[in-house]
């Protein structure tokens, strides 16, 4: 059936079954491939997007449950103050290696920073331990979140 969703500030209409996970709507129907498929079971976090600012695993979120909530993906996270700071810190500290999981890492980290401007180590663990990085960039992810927390919001 037809669903109207709002993605990165734009209204989109898609015609899929209601149980279709948001991830495949984004990737295969709308062509927004920044959100990644990693496990399909909310175990790795590569598919993380924001629903009204909260991080969710789009691989297990059915399109029929999205409703009127605003969806933000990595393609637009740089337009948010927290997302912009996170992206900059990621570049400053050279976090990425293969880069495949980093969309999800950045979405989780941006949501953390937006809701908690100065996260502690254990708060970083809580927010980020659902995101696997096979290249092992964890040491830098932690440092980049701390640096982003210290950096000033752009005017």
């Amino acid at each position: 059936m037809a669903y109207k969703i709002r993605v990165n500030g734009v209204d989109r209409a898609v015609d899929v079954d209601g149980d279709t996970p948001l991830l495949w709507v984004l990737r295969d129907v709308l062509g927004l491939t920044g959100s990644k498929f990693g496990c399909g079971m909310a175990l790795c976090g590569a598919c993380t997007v924001h629903l009204d600012g909260s991080p969710i695993r789009s691989c297990v979120t059915a399109i029929e449950d999205v409703g009127a909530s605003a969806i933000t993906t990595v393609e637009a996270i740089g337009d948010t103050p927290a997302g912009k700071r996170i992206q900059r810190a990621w570049l400053d500290l050279e976090v990425v290696q293969c880069g495949y999981c980093q969309s999800g890492q950045i979405m989780s980290a941006s949501a953390l920073l937006a809701s908690n401007p100065h996260p502690t180590d254990s708060e970083i663990n809580d927010a980020m331990s659902g995101n696997i990085c096979r290249c092992g960039t964890y040491v830098r992810i932690r440092e980049a979140i701390k640096q982003a927390a210290k950096s000033r919001v752009d005017k």
Binding site: W24, L91, E94, Q102, S129, C133
Partner: protein, 732 residues
């Protein structure tokens, strides 16, 4: 190791020996199609001097194109899988060409062994930590030659002497007048000049870019979702396929009832392969629903009852069979007989999956007159050959469009996913993207072999080894993947580093090949043979130190008298880790050293072991000497990541079989280390101007033995098998 074998069967010198690898570079410059200057780089490989003198006999290994806008494009065979190659290769060019790093762009090379062979491995491949080692001099020479030609062209325009001109930031400057000409304005003129021979390379002390932590060129697109991995390809008219291969290793498809699947909205086709079935649909979810709606009967075949225990039993039995000698020095039997004490042990390592974050995938479009393949691969020419074999098309009718790799770790050195995707795509007249589920990815991997090794040592009155024997028993990856490397029953990768970096007076290393049941394929895994042997050797050395009641660092030091670079990293790691400082109860420190890929490394792990047996690695200190460095920050990043990769394997990594099926399926049963478990990591890089060593793999290879040795220090329990099982360490 792998590298040695490739160079040795190619007739070259060892890729991992400390001695300099002698290769020669040939350059040819001329006009680029469509205007500009094109420099082709050819590296002589494994060919005698007489032939090597004739540069025309070779096809180029890389191209550098400078267009009329001054844009520099580097076309190289290496792929980017996280290791930083797309930054380090442009750095080599930019340094000598005198352009800013951001003026250099990279293009994926099309598949062609003749054009893009890796000079160490002999064909187009990214693996074995070879990229910087292969291209260190050739790319610098290419940059220097192009710069020299541009300077000559500018000098001619000014009717000046070239020596009165210099190059800087993409321009040639006439020093006396301050006149400037941009490279873009000079390329056509330069292209008409003869290629100069013997252009001098910079003295390393004058490097402006090499040796600095220049920013990764691939990073910006990896933080905003723009980076395109193989799985992200969009082709007009493309459909998506989900696939299920026979869950029993080596089994076949018997029968499929597909009427329910065909009624799932969006499902287009059901494709039957010999050992798998695929559902093609408008999008992945429809394909997955279609797949779930199939009623499939499998022919389990001969492996229907195979379990890991059967395979281990076969390996154990094989250990008693006659072995092929890999290394024999002195007389081990005699030395053992005369030893004050002998120690022996069996060490084992499990099958491992790669679990790259980007699951295996491949997009293919098969037509009567050609085939296109979109994929991220470490072996583009093999990808093309695989597609040609399935379609029956000649090689030149197959186009491989290579992409960024969402992790490689050796998995993308195989092309089974490409063969399968082309088999599916040839059944339809539109492009198909085949995406494996995570379960398919883990259950149909090419696995790191299970190894069952027997080690023995004879000790003198001081407790130092006077005899060392190591029998390696396991599958041969070379026999399948690089048959010319598998000579006289010996797999050189399986035995690489089997006597460690030590100088023992009497050594015997031998090998028994024992393959798992047909259908279970073994393959390269990060750190290759070194990851296997460093675990066996460094664990066993630690046992010897303990049996002699020596400190583990001091004991290794004593065995490395003549190996000054190895000893230097050991000393540095020990100093930085505070080796001699006391630790609280339940905490232990363990050390391991390794020489491989041309790199010397020492790692010291600090672990805690809970009463419940849970192990936590809280700190790792690494000292590494990988010769001269192109980008120090990339080296640190590779070591940090390599350590995490190795800890994941030590704590969790294990693929097991029951009734012929892989038991593990997703990240709940095949676990990865997560951020809350990640240790603090310190990497200390030794300043060196020796030849560059590889860096993608050493970090992984040395960490597991450091961790088990630290567990021994904390608990007195010696683990000779991975993964570490908390049940074995419970103290309550």
């Amino acid at each position: 190791m792998l590298l040695d074998r490739f160079t040795s069967f190619a007739g070259g010198s060892s890729g991992s020996s400390p001695e300099s690898v002698s290769r020669r570079t040939f350059l040819k410059a001329g006009a680029a199609a469509g205007g500009g200057l094109l420099v082709s780089v050819t590296i002589s490989k494994a060919i005698g001097d007489a032939e090597a003198a004739d540069a025309d006999a070779f096809a180029p290994d890389a191209f550098i194109r400078i267009d009329r806008s001054g844009q520099v494009t580097l076309i190289i065979p290496q792929v980017e899988m996280g290791q930083g190659t797309y930054t380090s290769m442009p750095m080599l060019i930019a340094e000598e060409l005198e352009v800013e790093l951001n003026q250099v762009r990279i293009e994926h090379a099309p598949p062609d062994d003749r054009l893009f062979g890796n000079s160490i491995l002999g064909f187009q491949v990214t693996g074995g930590s070879t990229s910087v080692r292969a291209f260190w001099e050739p790319l610098r020479m290419a940059g220097a030659t192009a710069r020299s030609m541009l300077v000559s062209a500018a000098a001619a325009s000014w009717q000046a002497n070239a020596s009165s001109c210099r190059a800087e930031k993409g321009e040639v400057i006439h020093i006396p007048t301050g006149g400037r000409l941009a490279y873009g304005a000079l390329v056509d003129k330069a292209a008409k000049l003869p290629t100069p021979g013997n252009v001098a390379l910079k003295d390393p002390k004058d490097f402006k870019l090499i040796g600095t932590s220049a920013k990764r060129l691939d990073a910006p697109d990896k933080v905003n979702g723009k980076a395109e991995f193989g799985i992200d390809v969009k082709v007009l008219g493309m459909k998506i396929a989900a696939v299920a291969a026979c869950p029993v290793i080596g089994g076949k498809l018997a029968h499929v009832d597909d009427w329910k699947a065909k009624s799932v909205r969006g499902v287009r086709r059901v494709i039957r392969l010999e050992d798998a079935v695929a559902v093609i649909a408008d999008h992945m979810w429809a394909a997955k629903k279609g797949l779930a709606a199939l009623d499939i009967a499998w022919d389990d075949g001969k492996n229907a009852d195979v379990s890991t225990a059967d395979i281990v039993k076969q390996l154990e039995d094989a250990a008693n069979r006659p072995a092929v000698v890999a290394k024999r020095e002195g007389d081990v039997a005699k030395a053992m007989a005369g030893a004050v004490k002998t120690v022996d042990a069996v060490y084992q390592l499990p099958f491992l999956a790669h679990a790259t974050m980007e699951p295996m995938n491949c997009t293919a479009h098969v037509r009567n007159d050609g085939c296109d393949v979109w994929v991220g691969t470490q072996v583009a020419t093999r990808a093309r050959a695989a597609a040609a074999a399935v379609t029956g098309l000649p090689l030149e009718k197959v186009q491989v469009h290579n992409h960024l790799l969402g992790g490689g770790f050796g998995r993308r050195l195989d092309v089974d996913n490409i063969t399968q995707a082309v088999q599916i795509a040839r059944e339809v007249d539109f492009p198909v993207k085949v995406v494996w589920s995570r379960e398919e990815d883990i259950q149909h991997d090419v696995y790191r072999p299970y190894y069952y090794d027997r080690l023995a040592a004879g000790l003198d009155e001081k407790g130092l080894p006077i005899a060392w024997s190591h029998r390696v028993v396991g599958s041969s990856i070379e026999a399948r993947w690089a048959p010319p490397a598998f000579v006289n029953g010996l797999d050189s990768d399986a035995v690489e580093g089997a006597a460690g970096p030590y100088a023992f007076p009497n050594v015997l290393v031998d090998y028994v090949r024992q393959e798992p049941p047909p259908g279970l394929t073994t393959g390269w895994w990060r750190g290759v043979g070194m990851t296997h042997n460093a675990f066996m050797v460094e664990g066993f050395i630690d046992e010897l130190a303990a049996s002699a009641k020596h400190d583990p660092v001091a004991y290794r030091r004593a065995l490395l008298e003549t190996n000054s670079r190895m000893r230097a990293v050991l000393d540095l790691a020990a100093e930085k880790a505070g080796w001699s400082e006391a630790l609280p109860a339940g905490v232990g420190r363990g050390v391991a050293v390794m020489f491989g890929f041309g790199t010397y490394i020492a790692e010291i792990a600090e672990v805690t072991v809970g009463k419940d047996g849970q192990v936590r690695v809280q700190r790792v200190v690494c000292a590494v000497d990988c010769g001269r460095t192109v980008n120090p920050d990339t080296i640190k990043a590779q070591i940090e990541g390599g350590i995490i990769f190795g800890i994941t394997a030590a704590l969790y990594g294990e693929i097991t079989l029951e009734k012929g099926r892989v038991v593990q399926s997703n990240f709940d049963t095949y676990q990865m280390l997560r951020i809350d478990e990640a240790p603090a990591i310190e990497v200390h890089v030794i300043d060196s101007d020796a030849e560059s060593g590889g860096i993608g793999e050493p970090g992984t290879s040395a960490i597991a033995p450091a961790v088990v040795n630290a567990i021994f220090a904390a608990t007195g329990k010696r683990l000779r098998r991975l993964p570490i099982k908390p049940a074995d360490l419970k103290s309550a």
